[in-house]
């Protein structure tokens, strides 16, 4: 009965490939997020999204794009993967877009060879 789930848990791929990570939340939350945890263990926001607004961290390359088929899902598409994209990616959701706790998925470890 997982609140925020991500698939796959592990993803190993070659440079230049295009891949997607899926995220689903069953909490009825309005806002979803993607975070990247790099090799130095910093967790950094990539996107926040609700049905009205997408906020993009300006440091995120445009090879990364979030896609939301409905309120419960926010998938992350990555084009032309690079070695530096290797990291753990976490999806999260919150009831509202401000002043609310965010609940995280288990993470997807992406390795680009």
């Amino acid at each position: 009965d997982t609140a925020v789930s991500q698939t796959p848990k592990y993803l190993v791929t070659q440079m230049g490939n295009d891949k997607s990570i899926k995220c689903e939340q069953n909490l009825g939350h309005d806002t979803m997020y993607w975070y990247k945890q790099d090799s130095k263990k910093f967790l950094k926001i990539m996107f926040s999204y609700n049905n009205k607004e997408l906020i993009i961290n300006e440091t995120v390359p445009n090879r990364f794009s979030p896609k939301s088929p409905d309120k419960a899902h926010l998938n992350l598409h990555i084009n032309s993967l690079e070695l530096g994209d290797s990291a753990v990616y976490f999806c999260a959701s919150s009831l509202t877009s401000g002043g609310a706790a965010q609940y995280f998925g288990p993470g997807t470890r992406l390795t680009v060879l």
Binding site: Y33, I55, N57, S97, G99, Q102, F104, P106
Partner: protein, 111 residues
């Protein structure tokens, strides 16, 4: 440019004693602060939060204190239990923005 800093990479505390984890921030626009606990190979788990209009919030064994003038917050865990051993992240947000995280403090509870 680290806006949220956790200056202690690790902290060792004896079981039953108080654990105090500290966090400093530089952005005076932050209006919501949170603490997360993380085990290896899992996502961060929300513990407790505090709004900038308060200076203390308590939930069971966990208490968060906020000192806005010093731009400092702390998490107190009392009494500390073996299951509390994990990495603790301090986080902050401005209105609808995503969370800005510190680097984490690895708390080790010794029997």
């Amino acid at each position: 440019d680290q806006q949220v800093k956790q200056n202690s990479p690790s902290l060792s505390v004896q079981e039953g004693r108080i654990s105090i984890l500290n966090c400093d921030y530089t952005n005076s626009m932050f209006d919501y602060f949170l603490w997360y606990k993380k085990y290896p190979a899992e996502g961060p788990t929300f513990l407790i939060s505090i709004s900038s209009i308060k200076d203390k919030n308590e939930d069971g064994r966990f208490t968060v204190f906020l000192n806005k003038s010093a731009k400092h917050l702390s998490l107190h865990i009392v009494p500390s239990q073996p299951g509390d051993s994990a990495v603790y992240f301090c986080a902050a947000s401005v209105r609808a923005d995503g969370l800005t995280f510190g680097k984490g403090t690895h708390l080790i509870i010794q029997p």
